[in-house]
């Protein structure tokens, strides 16, 4: 690949690429994200290849593996261009029909179409799928279209034009000014103003400065950074380059978890491409600006997402945070000024530079500009990655885009911001969500994880679950986080077992506040959020566990009993046959009875009963 040594050469290349005549009749794009891969994409892809080869229609039908489309629940996802026919859950057997009817004849196959769970209607085109058409996909704009490892595919979509603009037309200060005016806030969770961070780093004395892309996405429920690195790696690199130019960094490091092999692979491929094209290394785009990026694979500790722990890990030490100040912008990697931004933050940069801060400021709310990607999961029909403007309400995300709660269940709460986020109850469904509003109600933006819960979720159990995660992931350095979170877990566990005491709720609040106030890093400072927010909004549920030995949601095993309603039971014997403990007695055709001593509360009888005769009390 030849070097691109100036803005003009980049423009020429893009124009040449865009004028390249597309011979193909249609392009079949397959989502190459990790979710779809897990659901069988590679086999489907091979089947398409095979079919195209067999029919010798390679000149007419192009096959393209793109980044993640975001609608992970429906994978493997296939979209046929240019019409954007949308087929979810494609199986190998569907391939010949898609080739024959859709790819060659442009006809939609009704049976393969997506059915909107809300309206029950079939949807033929991707842009008509509510999950997509209610989103505002800016950061994700290319993910479903381009081949992540094809530099030209990015260049033709204005790739590296923001870099060229910054290098050729703007001073570093002007770049920082644009980013400051855009009011972009760090997408890593805390929402620190990105432009200000860059400015602080630029102003820190010293010529050796480092720039780190934090791709240590630690929340198990969040995967937008992974998806961006897998699907739009060149955009991330471009964002990093602009930032490096702005702060005067000479070396960049992408700190990505080793559990993201596809992200690691795609990033390494694209870094090499960028290097060969003169977009990385010495004299980028023929300018005086030189910068290179290396990849560091993290070992997967949650705490390494914290800036100072990440730096320690990069330096070969145990990933443990240290007190700030000094902040990494003053003294970070190897003691040098270091700017650390998250993947999604970098993904916003080319947009801001290319379109200007005013364009960007039109998106979102005051002080919270741009979009945010949420990882929608839990008790919701459409799970996947959702990009919406800041200020969108939970109701829009969960019900309009997410299709609402499956079954005839009610929304109870949403856990926002990952394991150290907070539970948001139904009363805030119409609250426009952004960094500040979430904080006010006891949650955080955090990772952008969004887990929907219905009324069959026990909030004490939820608090216990997340506390278990954070106490396990505590680095062990500071006392409140190391010991305090374990003590909270023990109290919560006791409550879910019916061993709670009256004072426990107060003790949890007291401990939680203390841990928030005194912990060394963000992990500890947010760790009590799930507990404190559930106590705040669902205190009666805690009290029921303690006072009445009851789990209102029917989840905590020690607090529930299964009983067969003799009025409803038909004596079909199905429960008796399925009970692993022989804990159900009763003659056929006579109402059965559960022998409580033997019952281990596995719930199988409840699940298999066709008449709803097994009730939880």
């Amino acid at each position: 690949m030849s070097r691109i040594d100036s803005l003009q050469e980049l423009d020429v290349r893009r124009q040449r690429l865009s004028q390249r005549k597309e011979n193909a009749l249609r392009t079949i794009t397959l989502c190459g994200g990790t979710g779809c891969i897990a659901l069988g994409l590679p086999q489907v892809y091979t089947a398409f290849e095979h079919e195209i080869q067999q029919r010798s229609i390679g000149d007419k039908i192009r096959l393209k593996r793109t980044g993640c489309h975001g609608f992970c629940e429906q994978g493997p996802v296939v979209v046929v261009l240019p019409e954007r026919f949308f087929y979810p859950g494609v199986q190998v057997d569907d391939v010949p029909a898609i080739i024959e009817q859709t790819a060659l004849q442009g006809k939609v196959i009704d049976d393969l179409c997506y059915t909107d769970p809300v309206s029950g209607c079939k949807v033929a085109y991707e842009h008509d799928v509510p999950f997509y058409n209610l989103q505002e996909r800016l950061v994700f704009r290319h993910n479903g279209e381009l081949d992540p490892t094809d530099l030209d595919d990015y260049i033709v979509r204005d790739g590296y034009r923001a870099l060229a603009k910054a290098l050729c037309e703007m001073s570093p200060e002007e770049v920082i000014e644009q980013v400051k005016l855009s009011e972009l806030r760090g997408r890593g969770g805390a929402g620190f103003p990105t432009g200000l961070k860059w400015e602080l780093c630029r102003q820190s004395p010293g010529d050796d400065k480092y720039l780190i892309c934090n791709a240590d996405e630690g929340d198990p429920g969040a995967f937008m950074d992974r998806s961006l690195l897998e699907g739009s790696p060149h955009a991330i690199i471009e964002g990093i380059l602009v930032a490096a130019y702005a702060i005067g960094a000479r070396k960049g490091i992408i700190y990505v978890r080793a559990e993201y092999p596809l992200a690691v692979r795609n990033v390494n491929i694209t870094l090499q491409q960028a290097r060969e094209a003169g977009l990385l290394g010495a004299n980028i785009l023929g300018s005086q600006f030189s910068f290179d990026i290396s990849v560091h694979e993290g070992a997967g500790a949650f705490v390494c997402g914290e800036e100072t722990a990440l730096v320690a890990s990069l330096e070969g030490m145990r990933g443990m945070p240290r007190p700030r100040p000094p902040f990494p912008t003053q003294s970070g990697y190897k003691g040098k000024p270091t700017n650390i931004n998250n993947v999604e933050t970098f993904a916003n940069i080319p947009l801001i530079i290319l379109n200007g801060q005013q364009w960007y400021r039109a998106i979102g709310t005051k002080g919270n500009r741009g979009t945010k990607i949420f990882a929608l999961a839990g008790k919701v029909r459409n799970t996947g990655l959702v990009e919406v403007p800041m200020g969108t309400t939970l109701r829009q995300i969960i019900f309009d885009i997410g299709g609402g709660i499956p079954g005839d269940h009610e929304f109870k709460a949403a856990q926002m911001g990952g394991p150290s986020g907070g539970c948001v109850p139904a009363q805030y469904l119409d609250l426009p969500i952004d960094y500040d509003s979430l904080k006010e109600i006891g949650a955080i933006m955090g990772s952008g994880g969004l887990i929907v819960m219905d009324e069959a979720t026990c909030m004490v159990d939820v608090a216990r679950f997340f506390t278990d995660f954070v106490q396990e992931e505590s680095c062990g350095k500071c006392t409140p986080c190391r010991v305090g979170t374990r003590r909270m877990l023990e109290i919560l566990t006791a409550i879910t077992r019916g061993e709670g005491r009256l004072a426990d709720i107060d003790r949890l609040e007291q401990l939680g506040e203390m841990i928030k106030q005194t912990s060394l890093c963000g992990l500890g400072q947010t760790a009590p959020n799930p507990v404190l927010s559930t106590i705040r909004y669902f205190r009666p549920e805690y009290e029921a566990h303690i006072h009445d030995d009851k789990c209102p949601a029917g989840v905590c095993q020690e607090l529930i009993t299964y009983r067969i309603d003799p009025e409803v039971c038909t004596g079909c014997h199905l429960c008796v046959r399925n009970c692993p403990q022989n804990a159900i007695a009763g003659e056929p055709k006579q109402p059965h009875e559960i022998i409580t001593d033997r019952c281990v509360k596995c719930g199988i009888c409840h699940d298999v009963c066709k008449f709803g005769a097994v009730v939880i009390e």
Binding site: A301, V303, R318, M320, R322, P323, P325, Q471, E472, E473, S474, C475, G476, K477, C478, T479, P480, R482, V483, G484, T485, R486, R487, E490, R507, Q510, L511, M514, Q517, T518, S519, L520, Q525
Partner: protein, 908 residues
Amino acid sequence: MQSEMTTDRIMADEVSLSIDDTEVTVPAGTTVFLAAERVGIDIPHLCYEPDLGLPPSSSCRLCLVEVEGARTLVPSCSYAASAGIVVRTDTDEIREIRRMVIELLLSNHPHDCLTCEKSGDCDLQKYAYELGVKAPEYAGELIPPQPVQDGPAISYDRTKCILCGRCVEVCHNVEVTGAIDFQERGFDTHIGLPPGLPRDQSGCTECGNCIDVCPTGALSFVGAEGKGRTWELGRVATICPYCGVGCTIVLNTRDNRVVKVTGQPGLGINHGWLCVKGRFGFDFINHEGRLTGPLIRRDGELVPASWDEALDFVAEHLTQIKQEFGPDSIAALASAKCTNEENYIMQKFMRAVIGTNNVDHCARLCHASTVAGLAQAFGSGAMTNSIEDLDQATTIFVIGSNTTECHPIIGAAIKRAAQRGVPLIVADPRTIELTEYAAVHLRQRHGTDVALVNGLMNVILSEGLEDEQFIAERTEGFAEFRASVEPYTPELAERITGVAAEDIIRAARLYAQAPAAAIIYSMGITQHTTGTDNVLSLANLALLTGNLGKRGAGVNPLRGQNNVQGACDMGGLPNVFPGYQKVDDDEARAKFEVVWGSSLPASSGLTVVEMINAAAKGAVKALYVMGENPMLSDPHQSHVEEALKKLGLLIVQDIFLTETAQLADVVLPATSFAEKEGTFTNTERRVQRVRKALEPPGEARGDWQIICELARRMGSEMSYSGAAAIQDEIAFLTPSYKGITYDRLEQGSLQWPCPDRDHPGTPILHVGRFTRGLGKFHAVEFIPAQELPDDDYPFALSTGRILQHFHTGTMSRRSEVLGALVSVGVIEINPQDAERLGIADGQPVRVSSRRGEIEINAVVTDRVTPGTLFLAFHYREAPANRLTIAALDPVAKIPEFKVCAVKIEPVW
């Protein structure tokens, strides 16, 4: 503009803040904790301890304070004070938080203060008491107490660990060992070695500094368990009797026994840090083998005698021999282990009472060439700079010193420098720990140091890197010197030394281009027949580059024994009085004659090896050995034994019945360093106080008291009220010690020269002017070692020390811990040679030279190059000096311990 900036800077240097309504002004960058300390506010703290000099980890959260306007409470230990901030350290909220921190810690801590070793000295206990924490509110899961002892010395009980991280910090950034770290995470976090790695393979040297810094009972000394708690122990700060670094140690005693040895935070040149010997090498003090009464040989057996009998016996025999054969038929070995006062008395006794200059000591075997060489070049035969100077060096050149094993505290300082990025050049035929940290490792052939250093200087001159101004203003003899190094091109040097020319060039540039480059050397330089030449070469190198008389530079010999510098300073040498005043200098001699009240001989006496040779020939009839063990320490052991047996009278004054004492006619029981007052002078000329912590065992007596008593019985009154009075006499007679008194030493140590009572001492010699006026270049030609490998004895054997043992093992091999760490000696052989000779790792081998043979186990390692062997000389069962050669440096008379020819064969 200029003045504005200056004003700004001055103002920026200091900040004023308010702490608990008190205004305080501190230098910018001071932490809130230290600022509070200034106004007498002691903020509770557990993980941080300012006295230790370790950076704060801010992990315990006990020292949190409120800063008005700050988002959260801030840890005062790491939060820098800034102008105008308002700090509160003791609000109700903060007190409650501190209580909770202690409660949380106690919730995972065994409540066994009744029987805990640390009780009374435990910070957690202290704060639990102060904050009134009774039963912990948040009782929960507790790991059962399970102390882990995975080595002989250190025990770790994770249940008592508050994870302050001090031990990890010390291990990584003070010792630069990095053996331990935090393991696992969350509630299960603990301190440990890497999983699966046994302690002896972890790099842990068992220095025990981790125990010293532990604020709770989590880390403890295995051997001290049950032997007394803090309030039951006596604590006496004194000086370590092992190597020449001169660390301050604290003897913790009870019932006249040493319970443990600790460092005192921040105290001494070691700042409280110790090495494994200085920590665990003290079982000898209370050892059952200590001599408790005099012994006299009767009918071939050494039998107990009274002091009167023994002293009369010695006095009578010495008088008789002196009368019959003249004073020069009597010789004495002073001692690098004894105090300055004792050495002074010994040489005074020999010169004034016996009337001979036949007094020498083991400095002859280690640094005689230093004393000779540096005196010729600079006028003073001692370390030019200070240990602390290593912090200022911008390049460090270590040659012939296995510093981390032989002078561990200085070794750690070098590692810290390398960790900071200071380039380190290591010249050593062996791979040693420091080579891991080296920018360049010059692996020269044995005995080729002159060629190597000449090669370096050839590069410096050919590239114009010399310090012309320094040479012109402060040196002489340059032209002749310059001509002498011209032939030593890097290529020639490579042919002689085996070091690649490019490495020589690189090292030369690194050394010469550094603003301040320090040379550190030791016995790899001195113990050669060309020892003095080697030293002169290094002196040339420093003169050539102007690396003298300034901080961070210098020529720095590391002395081997605790008081080898002092023993030399005190005139324990055959040619000089105290302070290196020459015996043949009439003026000096006249001064001593007046004060000592007797006429003194003007001709130099015999050196160590010469004494042995003279004894073998019958010229020396009586030898008085104070605290030395020539049977193991001197070259060519069989020759030494033969000579000692031939003596008419062998007097050995020691604390143990050493290999030498076993041959004695009279054995006089002396006191150990722990049982006496006095001073030691360390390798950097620092005079430090040795303090009495214990009563001597049995009838053992102090060395100077014994000698004075002997003098009295021989008709010469030598009487002193104590060590301080001896020092007063030393000061009166010795210009470089003139300003040193015990009163001053109580306030802190002093580096000589200290010419008057107001003089602060001299950390750096030759500032502005050399002791001899101008620094003198010497033309030095390469001469090969005396005995090179040949067909019969094809290996070059080098001898030296290891970390865990010391010299002839008299002290170190009586230590349980050191013995458990290294119980037997080994000889190092390269894998190529081992394979060729069929020698397996750990296999017994026979090593022989033209002088003797030993049997020992082999260690197959590439630490040594093919054709070379390395053997430590600590082992009486396999004495290295049965093999070594008594070939001497013609000037310094030091034997060539570092090269002799041997053969090695497996023993089946």
